[in-house]
Symmetry: C2
DNA sequence: CCTGATACTTGTACTCTAGCAAGTGTTGCT
DNA sequence: AGCAACACTTGCTAGAGTACAAGTATCAGG
């Protein structure tokens, strides 16, 4: 499938307590629950492979078919039919590219963009709920530590996220 | 699909800074990257719906068909065929239930259990890598805060996690 | 202007998921 | 013993994803 080789960057490395790993592991489960709930209602309307397309479009803007297909890592023929379905359902449109008449631009409709935004919004909302149960002091710590953690993890590569659909 | 209603428990609620929400949001993205990478290699060998079965079995032990099907939230007929495929690939076995000859117990094979464990292990390994870039002081904070966060989020319901496959 | 490469679609084939309906065997209850 | 409920499988149908191969239109370079 995707090439997901994960090499350690040249960075200082400190010993890690297994207790810390376990805490992060459990937190990852909890966050995964949040993510799953945020996307579950949407999956009634769209399949995960289709949703991936919208996610990419939402972050990159209109793209031509071949580039999108490569991004999603499927054959052009497969992708063409996926776009067929997305068009039918009104989530994207095919548009001619003035500069090159053999290329076709895929654009998310407002409807399609909303779908992606709604998922993100549900996620934020639930996070807000969870965080509200923490004291302000703890919240401040969360901000600091989670930011540091996110930095350490690095921005996940787009194709990686696509594995799970967001 | 699943009933994922998310009600706020009776708990103290503090105001939440949007900055904190955003930090958690970004961290959730980062963690999602970790999760996706941990499962990606496995998806070459098994489909997500099939993997879900193994995940459930891994945490509950052998279950009878009907209970498993209900857990996964699919029709018994659909599930029967999924088990067919899992059996063919050697990840689970069907076993008669001595106490009730009309029930059939589905059991993960060692091979199947390994598959699930490997994903969890990859996840821990990558988390360890990330945490190693944090200073010991930060790590201590991570343990504390992430634990608190996980507690606040609550153990995600099994059916919720199944949406994404783990 | 021709030719080969590029971009996309269509034809064909296969697998997986999924559900409804019907069938077989088993159990529990009267 | 008989019958209804339960547990599972099988037949059938349908949609979605996926890939390979072939086809059409377009572009770029000689």
């Amino acid at each position: 499938m995707n090439s997901l080789a994960q090499e350690t960057p040249l960075q200082p490395s400190y010993p890690v307590d297994e207790e810390t790993v376990e805490a992060a592991f459990l937190a990852s489960k909890a966050l995964l629950g949040v993510v799953a709930r945020s996307i579950a209602p949407t999956l009634d309307n769209i399949t995960l492979p289709q949703f991936r397309v919208l996610v990419v479009l939402r972050s990159t803007g209109p793209m031509k078919m071949s580039a999108l297909a490569e991004w999603i890592a499927v054959q052009p023929s497969t992708f063409s039919r996926t776009v067929d379905r997305l068009v039918t359902k009104g989530w994207v449109t095919r548009q001619p590219n003035k500069d090159s008449r053999r290329e076709i631009l895929v654009t998310a409709t407002p409807h399609g963009a909303e779908l992606v935004d709604a998922v993100a919004e549900r996620r934020r909302k639930e996070l807000r709920h969870i965080l509200a149960t923490l004291t302000p002091a703890d919240q401040a710590q969360v901000t600091l530590i989670l930011s540091r953690f996110a930095d350490a993890a690095g921005e996940p590569r787009a194709d990686t996220l696509l594995t799970l659909g967001i």
